[in-house]
């Protein structure tokens, strides 16, 4: 008997387990993605440990240090109220990461549930829900977030809500698309099976089929949401001082940018670093899950 096993001849289940291993292997080989992952983990650790590892208390004001330029005592300098920018950035990571994570999570959970319902029941429910989603998507994401955020007011909870609604339609479409594809195939077998197992067949097969694009979409989504959150804070919505959110910090420092550019440079770099790492990871995940795109 041949010792080598040919992919196409192996049963579906073994192929899927092998696929997960293959995906992880491919991801590990992608240096850029791994770099993004490592830096991301470090940033998350930094955010979580900030109360203990930040050099200063982020809220501690100091008249003497107002607008202090970067120095050995204050690596990133101080802001208008003499607060240490590095500490504020470290603490601010919590707000940004939390906003990004929660908004994307909420959008994904709602999207997956809604998409599953719509895909399973189809028909009228499908039509109505998709039309409503069309209308939500008809308004550019940023504008929708602005409108909802303006209506609800600032604060972390309200901002999470404002940011998550815009992300729901895309997730719903992803799920719905996967379900429709699988349903088309399973109908052949469904004719022979009892009705109740059709649902189990769908849930057992949808997960591997749709989990890949959802994972990629979540990773990229967190990055985009962080950008949006920062933008909202910048224009006075979203999260406002004293919470050290990076976008709000940029807004505070904007007026003195000509004299004290360090007020704006560092918070912006922080935003860029986080989003960049998430995008690097997201790209790597997408390439790992679809080898067709790699070569």
């Amino acid at each position: 008997m041949s010792t080598a096993v040919n992919d196409t001849h192996v049963g579906v289940r073994t192929r899927r387990q092998g696929q997960l291993g293959q995906v992880m292997h491919r991801l590990r080989k992608n240096k850029v993605a791994m770099l993004g992952l490592v830096i991301m983990l470090l940033l998350i650790a930094m955010a979580l440990l900030s109360p203990w590892i930040a050099p200063y208390n982020y809220a501690k004001t100091s008249k003497a240090d107002r607008y202090a330029s970067p120095s050995w005592q204050h690596l990133f300098g101080c802001d208008a109220m003499g607060r240490d920018i590095l500490s504020r950035i470290m603490y601010g990571a919590r707000a940004s990461l939390w906003l990004g994570l929660m908004s994307t999570l909420v959008a994904t959970v709602i999207g997956v549930l809604l998409g599953s319902l719509v895909g399973y029941y189809g028909g009228r429910v499908d039509n109505i829900v998709m039309r409503i989603l069309d209308i939500i998507q008809a308004i550019p994401g940023m504008l929708l977030s602005i409108a909802i955020s303006a209506a609800l007011g600032s604060g972390i909870g309200n901002t999470i809500l404002a940011l998550s609604i815009g992300g729901v339609p895309m997730t719903v479409r992803l799920l719905r698309g996967s379900i429709l594809t699988v349903r088309k195939q399973e109908y052949i077998e469904a004719a022979e099976k009892i009705n109740c197992s059709k649902w189990r067949v769908i849930t057992a097969h949808i997960l591997p089929n749709s989990i890949a694009p959802v994972i990629v979409s979540v990773t990229m989504g967190i990055g985009n949401t962080i950008l949006q959150a920062a933008s909202l804070s910048y224009i006075g919505l979203g999260v406002q001082p004293p919470t050290p959110e990076w976008g709000a910090m940029l807004s505070e420092g904007k007026s003195m940018i000509t004299k004290y550019p360090h007020l704006c440079i560092f918070p912006g770099l922080a935003i860029m670093l986080v989003v960049l790492c998430l995008n690097m990871l997201g790209d790597g995940l997408r390439d790992a899950m679809d080898p067709k795109l790699k070569n």
């Binding site: 504008l143 550019p261 935003i271």
Partner: protein
């Protein structure tokens, strides 16, 4: 074809109504009392009650919604600004030109800079040019536009003095930095999507067929691969316009450009809700018209879609 365009135009009506309903519903939950905001803090309780009655604020949701839709679409009245007391609609219209100019210039940058970059990256796949430009593109989609704007102002306006820091007084020069800042992410995104679309198309069977016919590399690339690769990019361009419109809100704020975006961000700070919602509504409507245009362009360009609406000829 006419049938297709007609169908899409008809579809616009419920979409526009839907957008208005959505915006109204969001406004409905806005905090604060519109009557109070209009009359000011010194108004008496009686005056407030009378004003509320006059504005119809005590009516049920459906009635207020109906009134809103009527006002918005039939009378083109988007309410009055709490701050200035002027017509929101008039305020938006007089500022629309700047916003549209910026959005259009940004779109041009996205399409005419991003697309060639993506094509070159795809044709030099895995080469040095590909790796460098794609890493730059990755950075590009990660940069917050308003921060980029501030940095550009710092470098080019403040330190080098080449370009104005704000305002629209200097003609085309005033628009250079705002457009670069607003379109940077869009150019990067366009390059990335064009590259992946090209790479996918280049791997198609019909490209091998074209090569097997003896066509030169250039012909295969530009006559067969590129047109097919650009079709899905049309949607990206349409969505990009949406991002541009959303982005101008922030960018106008940074550069003090008297457009719709600045109008809205100022209104946010002064809790002038009619202006904010009116702005979102109008920009949303413009965006859905753009998506309609995208759908129509698709039908013209992709014969498979054209055929769906042509009926008789579309039979196998």
């Amino acid at each position: 074809m006419i049938r297709y365009i007609g169908k899409r135009l008809l579809w616009m009506i419920p979409v526009m109504l839907g957008i208005a309903v959505l915006i109204f519903s969001i406004m409905y939950i806005c905090p604060g009392d519109p009557a109070q905001s209009l009359l000011g803090p010194s108004a008496s309780a009686v005056e407030l009650a009378a004003k509320r009655e006059e504005m119809g604020l005590n009516d049920p949701y459906i009635v207020r919604l109906g009134r809103y839709l009527y006002q918005t679409f039939i009378r083109l009245d988007l309410g009055t600004s709490y701050k200035f007391g002027t017509s929101v609609f008039a305020g938006l219209m007089e500022r629309m030109q700047y916003t549209l100019v910026i959005a259009l210039l940004c779109m041009c940058l996205q399409v005419f800079v991003g697309t060639p970059l993506g094509i070159m990256a795809a044709t030099h796949h895995n080469g040095l040019w590909d790796r460098i430009s794609m890493f730059l593109a990755l950075v590009g989609v990660s940069i917050p536009a308003f921060w980029l704007a501030l940095m550009l102002v710092l470098i080019f306006a403040v330190n080098l003095g080449w370009l104005p820091t704000s305002g629209v007084a200097n003609g085309i020069a005033s628009f250079i930095l705002p457009c670069i800042a607003n379109s940077f992410a869009g150019i990067a995104s366009q390059a990335r999507h064009t590259r992946s679309s090209m790479l996918e198309v280049i791997r198609s069977d019909y490209i091998v067929t074209a090569k097997a016919k003896g066509l030169s590399q250039k012909t295969v690339l530009f006559k067969h691969a590129l047109p097919n690769a650009l079709i899905p990019i049309i949607t990206i361009v349409g969505n990009g316009m949406g991002m541009m419109l959303g982005g101008t809100v922030i960018i106008e704020n940074v550069f003090a450009i008297p457009g719709v975006g600045r109008y809205m961000t100022d209104a946010i700070n002064s809790r002038d809700y009619p202006v904010v919602m009116g702005g979102v509504l109008v920009l949303g409507l413009i965006f859905s018209l753009i998506m309609l245009l995208v759908d129509i362009v698709y039908a013209f360009v992709d014969p498979r879609i054209k055929a769906q609406y042509e009926g008789r000829k579309g039979k196998k």
